[in-house]
């Protein structure tokens, strides 16, 4: 273990270490010389464009994409225009910015995705320099044009081009520039000689970094940190100025004593580190600068590039891939020579324990005496996370585990999750996968994103293994991966629909939360309609099935699926879609076969399109409904003529439907309407629209008896109704004389009890009594009771020997006044019962 510190270099208070990540698997003839190189952060892929400066059409440059370990992912000849810059988006897509401002987007396996333009102004004055940057809003592109103006897009997924204001006094290209993200805005910081300017949306503001050494006449290089919080400037005098990126505070200034302009400069700072530090690279030389005067110098054998990371800098050369970082606190505590930190002692104790030496106990006691054992365990666990060598990781974790044995209630989560994380990290760091993530980066990017990246690389089995291992909920984990797999699978042209559908269904069968419709959409998009339909069969949610079926023009299937689902809303969706899509005839034909859809559409038409409803009925030869429709329309119509015309149409339809009853009734109504109007004109009585009954009531009440009689005859009004009508209206007017005459005109079809009752209702007992004698024997008792003639009622009841009638009378008698009567009734009741 002694050699852990072998690659450590001190700088001020801290140590820096350079770890080899991979020996590159690629075989580059000229290294990285004359290549356009871009490497994605978080151990992402590397893209190379060789010979991009050659303009002859015969020699096409080659675009190559490699994993971080140098395994080829894609390679193809570049056929488009001259590329100025390569870069990666946050979701591992490759951006190629061309001279004319066109940006081409490829996925990391070299598949072309799309392209977009950075605007007319850019394409006219050509791209001079480009920077691709990441902000909280996504990946952005900043361009300096030949006209020395900046154009900026903050998020390439939602392009809003911003042209920044002009920089006063700028004659040629600025000596250097960078994109900053401040106050939720992307700004450009540029240096023109010794002058610094900040360009935002509206203005160009000159700024001065505090305490910049006066010897400098020009700023030759600048870079901001991974988090955009800090800024480093390199002057022509060889000084590196480091400070906050808002230029309010200076952190340090170091003289590198090298005055030639560097190739690249990058921040190299751990989160929460005490010391700001940057890495500057020249040909064959790398210098780490920090707070103190000293620097660390490394020699480089080969052309290299720097890839800034969250917690360090990766150095990629033609043969090697290394990570340069400040040694994390926990590692320093444990491995620093002669360290007495609790973690270091625990590690030592464990070593002795393995050697079965009693010294183990001494070390342990020492930690325990200071009651720092839990701190020791924590240090070991943390340090394990920062180590790349599995052996070292194991040693540290074993020590931690050993220490844990002497603690009673130490929470196990940290240890367990670290073991899991490391297992995953070691798996993805593997040469064949080539994602050299540090633990800090992994925590920052989250498991979800890591899974996504594996999916982009089509490493489905590994992704699923990791999901299962980390027990990610199925919906976010395994199912999601499987869905991506299936989406990829359906695009494989060489296999038949059946084979793919089967393969997909077998794999996805028991996974929860799979959306087959999404997979089917993919299949449809890659031109495999039949496969899409097959896949949709597996989709349990009709709500997802139907829209896609419509999209792929399988509307009859969509309609029947929608109806099957019982979801009316879905049926509506399809019906409305079809209505716009098909011609009327076809549309109606389709509805005819689907009664549910038809009745829904009718409902809709009732409110929105009455005429369509008519067409629908017409097509079905549903004359009955058409008739009803006309009748309905008729009473919305105010003008009488129009109303009658509509009713006539209804009559015609009813006849066609062989519904004579309705036809006749409607004809009657037309007659009635005409009659009413005529009378309205003559007598000024408001009648139109009344029912026959109401019309007659009105006529009788205003004394138009003749007209009422006419209606009675013309419309074959039943006698009973007429008698009721007349009886009521005469009583209403209290025309008792006329009533008597009417009563005597012929034998009443409704009997005479109603006469009695109607008189009583109008409080005319005298008149009522006149009719009592005429009432039929069955109703006599009721009639007598109605006029309050107890004697008569009793008489009638006894005569009829009807028990229930006698009881009724009895119940109406009062004990005080009708004493004798009650006795008689009771006697009669007794005999009636006997019988």
């Amino acid at each position: 273990m002694a050699f852990v510190t072998a690659n450590w270099n001190p700088l001020g208070e801290a140590f820096y270490r350079k770890i080899e990540l991979y020996e590159m698997g690629w075989n580059l003839k000229d290294g990285l010389r004359e290549c356009l190189v871009a490497a994605a952060p978080y151990g992402g892929p590397i893209s190379l464009l060789k010979g991009h400066n050659r303009r002859s059409p015969s020699a096409r440059p080659q675009l190559e994409i490699y994993s971080s370990s140098g395994l080829p992912l894609a390679s193809f000849p570049w056929k488009s225009g001259v590329v100025k810059q390569l870069g990666w988006t946050v979701s591992d897509d490759l951006l190629c910015v061309q001279e004319d401002g066109t940006v081409l987007v490829y996925d990391l396996l070299g598949g072309f995705k799309r392209h977009f333009s950075m605007g007319n102004e850019v394409s006219q004055s050509q791209v001079l320099e480009t920077k691709i940057f990441h902000s909280p809003y996504g990946t952005g592109v900043a361009i300096l044009t030949g006209a020395l103006r900046f154009t900026l897009a903050t998020n390439i997924d939602d392009i809003k081009l911003r042209r920044l204001p002009e920089v006063p006094g700028l004659q040629g290209a600025p000596s250097c520039w960078a994109v900053l993200t401040q106050d939720r805005q992307s700004k450009v910081l540029l240096a023109n000689g010794s002058h610094l300017f900040i360009l935002d949306n509206t203005a160009c503001t000159p700024v001065t970094p505090p305490g910049l050494s006066p010897q400098a006449s020009s700023i030759v290089h600048m870079c901001d940190s991974f988090s955009y919080k800090y800024l480093a400037l390199l002057t022509d005098s060889g000084h590196v100025w480091m400070g906050t990126s808002n230029l309010k505070e200076k952190l340090s200034e170091v003289d590198t004593k090298i005055k030639t302009p560097p190739k690249q400069m990058a921040w190299c700072r751990r989160p929460k580190s005490q010391q700001p530090s940057a890495v500057v690279m020249w040909d064959g030389l790398l210098i780490v600068v920090g707070e103190c005067k000293e620097t660390i110098q490394y020699h480089l054998d080969d052309d290299s590039i720097l890839v800034p990371e969250l917690d360090g800098v990766r150095i990629i050369s033609g043969t090697h891939h290394e990570l340069l970082q400040e040694v994390p606190g926990a590692c320093e505590e444990i491995f620093k020579i002669a360290s007495m930190a609790p973690g270091a002692l625990l590690l030592e104790a464990h070593k002795e324990y393995e050697k079965e030496s009693q010294k183990a106990d001494e070390y342990l006691r020492e930690i325990k005496e200071q009651s720092l054992l839990s701190e020791a365990v924590r240090q070991c666990v943390e340090a394990a996370g920062h180590e790349h060598e599995p052996e070292t990781q194991k040693t540290l974790l074993r020590a931690a585990s050993f220490g844990k044995c002497f603690l009673s209630n130490f929470p196990p989560e940290q240890f367990v999750s670290m073991c899991r994380d490391l297992r995953v990290l070691n798996a993805v760091r593997d040469y064949t996968v080539g994602i050299p993530l540090t633990h800090t980066q992994f925590k920052q990017m989250t498991v979800q994103v890591l899974i996504d990246r594996l999916v982009y690389r089509k490493l489905y089995p590994l992704a699923i293994e990791i999901c299962r291992y980390l027990k990610t909920p199925e919906y976010q984990g395994v199912s999601r991966v499987l869905k991506h797999w299936a989406c990829y699978k359906v695009q494989q042209k060489e296999e038949s629909d059946e084979v793919i559908a089967k393969a997909v269904s077998v794999k996805l069968a028991d996974a929860a939360g799979i959306s087959y419709s999404e997979i089917a959409t993919k299949a449809y998009e890659s031109g495999r309609t039949e496969l899409a339909i097959k896949l949709l069969e597996f989709e349990p949610r009709s709500g997802e099935q139907v829209p896609l079926l419509l999209k792929i023009k399988k509307s009859p299937l969509a309609l029947s699926k929608a109806i099957e689902s019982g979801d009316t809303d879905l049926v509506y969706t399809v019906v409305m879609y079809l209505k716009n899509e098909l011609n009327r005839g076809d549309f109606f034909m389709m509805l005819r076969n689907q009664p549910v859809a038809l009745s829904l559409y009718k409902q809709f038409c009732k409110h929105q399109e009455q005429d369509t409803l008519k067409d629908l009925f017409n097509q079905d030869d549903d004359h009955e409904e058409l008739g009803n429709l006309y009748v309905k329309a008729s009473y919305k119509e105010q003008r009488l003529e129009a109303r009658i015309a509509l009713l006539q149409s209804a009559v015609d339809e009813y006849y066609k439907a062989k519904n004579e009853f309705s036809a006749k009734t409607t004809e009657d109504e037309m007659r009635l309407l005409r009659f009413q109007r005529e009378l309205e004109e003559k007598k000024g009585e408001l009648l139109v629209g009344f029912s026959l009954h109401d019309t007659m009531t009105t006529l009788l009440s205003v004394g138009l008896h003749k007209q009422a009689e006419q209606l009675y005859k013309d419309f074959r009004v039943p006698d009973k109704r007429f008698w009721w009508l007349k009886l009521k209206s005469l009583a209403e007017k209290e025309d008792w004389e006329e009533l008597e005459k009417f009563g005597k005109s012929k034998k009443s079809p409704i009997g005479y009890l109603p006469f009695v009752e109607v008189c009583i209702k109008h409080h005319n007992k005298y008149e009522a009594k006149k009719y009592v004698s005429k009432v039929t024997p069955e109703q006599k008792v009721k009639a007598h009771l109605a006029v309050g003639d107890m004697e008569g009622a009793a008489e009638a009841a006894i005569e009829r020997r009807n028990e229930s009638e006698i009881s009724t009378v009895l119940s109406r008698c009062s004990a005080t006044t009708d004493h004798l009567l009650m006795e008689r009734l009771n006697r009669a009741k007794a005999t009636a019962v006997k019988k």
Binding site: P540, G566, D567, P595, V596, H607, Y635, S662
Partner: protein, 619 residues
């Protein structure tokens, strides 16, 4: 109380939770449109909304003015308009017109439509067609269930009946399914589900789908069984005059959303009083399920008791008096107030109901149910129509006649229809068409063939085997087999036997001992047999579509005889009457279980038939 409650009757789940959920969501939605806004509410949502969130709560969430949706131009000076509506095309059209007229006038406002309980695609289509889709934001208020009482839950969707059974529009099926899903997710899953009817089956399917999509929660269920029943399984019951107190109050005064407005004739003052009718009202709670003839006796007894309680004051010393005023007086006063209201209501009802007309109406109804003296009934109905006594009552009797008699003879049908049209106008041609479509009022035809409509609906039943019991017209699916059903299920007690309404012996008491509600009898039978075994014949006569499914929770849990196992949820699709609720309460007390009624709306004969009118007013 005439019948005492069994002591082991299970307790009920707390449904006020549903109100709280609805209120919280509504407040959340209102907050989505920050700042002062005017709120327009669909007329039929007013009362339900009041039960969820009153004006004070709405004002707290920056609702400035409240308007009723009247489908007329509006006067509002607010810059933000919020509409709380049922998803109806008409209303959405009105809103679109409003937005468009604002646009023409160059007025800028923000509009938000909150659909409840859900939005429909058709409504969004209207917004799109009217070109205002982008101007309006839409939201859903998932207010599915309003608890009207401890054991009555209502979806408050009266249009469910017409839409589903008449128009064949199944849009509300998912709503009913979601309502069940909501109950399940709040109160736990069910061990068994029974149902009968096409709609019931669809609702169950929709609910099952929701269950499968959502996560399964394993918790102690609060109900054991669910029974889903379509209104068109039993039309007879809602068509009968109600004689149980609560039903009678509904028939006469119309209970709206659990509260009723008593007019001046009841309150014996010049004002109307709005009263909530639920179990909180102790007086009402005791008489709601009583036959009307018992109510007066009960109320006068109650009045006497009250007097005695007041009389306690005499001979009290100061200390006792103080305690009396502090503890009892308020309660007594409250009871006094309610008592006088209910006495007033009873008097007013008595006046109406003891009239000869009503007695004869009841007599006719009973004869029809018994199938006795049909000719006389027809004559009575004829007179009823000719005298223009009541549009709805005449129609009701016609329907009862048709259902109990398996349709009217052609001669009778034509003459009665003609007379009805003469009395109430030709528009009712459409009403008759509707009634026919629903099978409520039909004409017997010799050698009847299936009509176009019915073959389309595809409700064809192939039942040659039923021939023995049913007559030649059984090929028609809609046809009612009331007579045969009545015999088989013993719905109509033998006539001549005295029925003591004070001590009811079966559910028939809700119709003066003349008829046991078919719907309730069916529920009783299915619960007793734990399924449809032995009821196959009955189910076939009701056009089948019956089902029984073992539900969410495992059988071991179901065997666990907890209180919950004796709570039965009955869902009426298309509405239920207070009489049916009373009958179920009675059944529950007899069997030591509790019934919770979920209904799409409370209905009665008048509401049922009014929904089927197609005269000028309702279009």
């Amino acid at each position: 109380m005439a019948h005492t409650e069994r002591r082991d009757a299970p307790g009920l789940p707390d449904f006020s939770l549903l109100k709280r959920l609805a209120r919280d969501q509504l407040i959340f939605l209102l907050e989505q449109l920050p700042g002062k806004k005017d709120l327009f509410i669909d007329a039929d949502l007013m009362s339900p909304l009041d039960r969820i969130a009153n004006v004070t709560i709405l004002k707290q969430h920056e609702v400035d003015k409240l308007y009723k949706v009247e489908l007329k131009p509006i006067v509002s000076s607010s810059d933000q308009l919020c509409f709380l509506i049922r998803p109806r095309i008409q209303t959405v059209k009105w809103i679109s017109d409003l937005v468009n007229s604002d646009k023409v006038a160059g007025r800028f406002r923000r509009y938000k439509i909150i659909f409840t309980p859900q939005k429909f695609y058709a409504c969004e289509t209207v917004l799109e067609e009217q070109g205002v889709y982008g101007d309006v934001t839409t939201d859903e208020w998932n207010f599915y269930i309003l608890p009207l009482d401890d054991d009555i839950l209502s979806l408050e969707l009266p249009e469910f009946f017409r839409d589903n059974f008449l128009e064949g529009d199944q849009r509300w099926v998912t709503t009913a399914g979601s309502a069940l899903h909501l109950l399940q997710s709040v109160y736990g899953s069910f061990s068994k589900v029974y149902g009968i009817g096409r709609c019931a089956k669809m609702v169950y399917e929709s609910w099952r789908e929701l269950m499968e999509e959502g996560e399964q929660r394993t918790r102690q269920p609060e109900f054991a069984k669910v029974f889903l029943i379509d209104r068109d399984v039993d039309f007879v019951t809602p068509l009968c005059s109600q004689v149980v107190y609560e039903g009678l109050v509904d028939d006469i005064f119309r209970i709206k959303c659990g509260s009723v407005e008593f007019g001046p004739d009841v309150t014996s003052s010049d004002k109307s009083i709005k009263v909530m009718l639920n179990s909180q009202d102790k007086v009402f709670d005791e008489i709601r399920n009583e036959h009307f003839s018992n109510v007066f006796g009960f109320l006068s007894q109650k009045a006497k008791n009250l007097q005695t309680a007041y009389d306690k004051r005499r001979g009290m010393d100061i200390q006792q008096m103080k305690a009396f005023v502090a503890d009892e007086l308020k309660g007594l006063k409250q009871e006094h107030r309610l008592l006088s209201l209910h006495i007033g209501a009873s008097e007013s009802m008595m006046k109406k109901k003891t009239k000869q007309d009503f007695q004869e109406l009841l007599k006719t109804e009973h004869s029809l149910l018994e199938g006795f003296e049909i000719r006389e009934c027809i004559t009575h109905i004829e007179e009823h129509i000719n005298r223009q006594v009541s549009m709805i009552d005449s129609l009701r009797l016609l329907c009862l006649l048709s259902i109990t008699e398996n349709g009217l003879l052609s001669k009778d049908y034509k003459s009665l229809k003609a007379q009805y049209l003469q009395s109430y106008g030709i528009e009712h041609l459409l009403t008759f068409a509707n009634l026919r479509q629903l099978g409520l009022l039909e004409e017997q035809q010799a050698g009847e063939t299936l009509t176009v409509m019915e073959s389309k609906v595809g409700k064809l039943v192939t039942d040659k085997t039923v021939g023995k019991l049913t007559d030649a017209f059984s090929s028609l699916a809609k046809k009612s087999n009331f007579r045969a059903l009545s015999k088989r299920l013993a719905l109509v007690p033998k006539s001549g036997e005295e029925y003591d309404l004070r001590v009811p012996r079966d559910m028939a008491y809700v119709f003066s001992g003349a008829y046991i509600p078919l719907s309730c009898k069916l529920i009783e039978q299915v619960m007793e047999r734990d399924g449809w075994t032995g009821l196959e014949e009955v189910a076939r006569m009701l056009n089948g579509q019956e089902f029984a499914v073992t539900g969410g929770c495992s059988s071991s849990e179901a065997r666990n005889k907890t209180d919950a196992q004796r709570i039965v949820l009955v869902m009426f699709l298309g509405g239920c009457t207070y009489s049916e609720i009373s009958a179920l309460q009675f059944l529950g007390k007899e069997r030591g279980c509790r019934f919770i009624v979920v209904t799409t709306a409370i209905t009665n004969s008048a509401r049922l038939l009014e929904a089927l009118l197609d005269n000028g007013a309702s279009v």
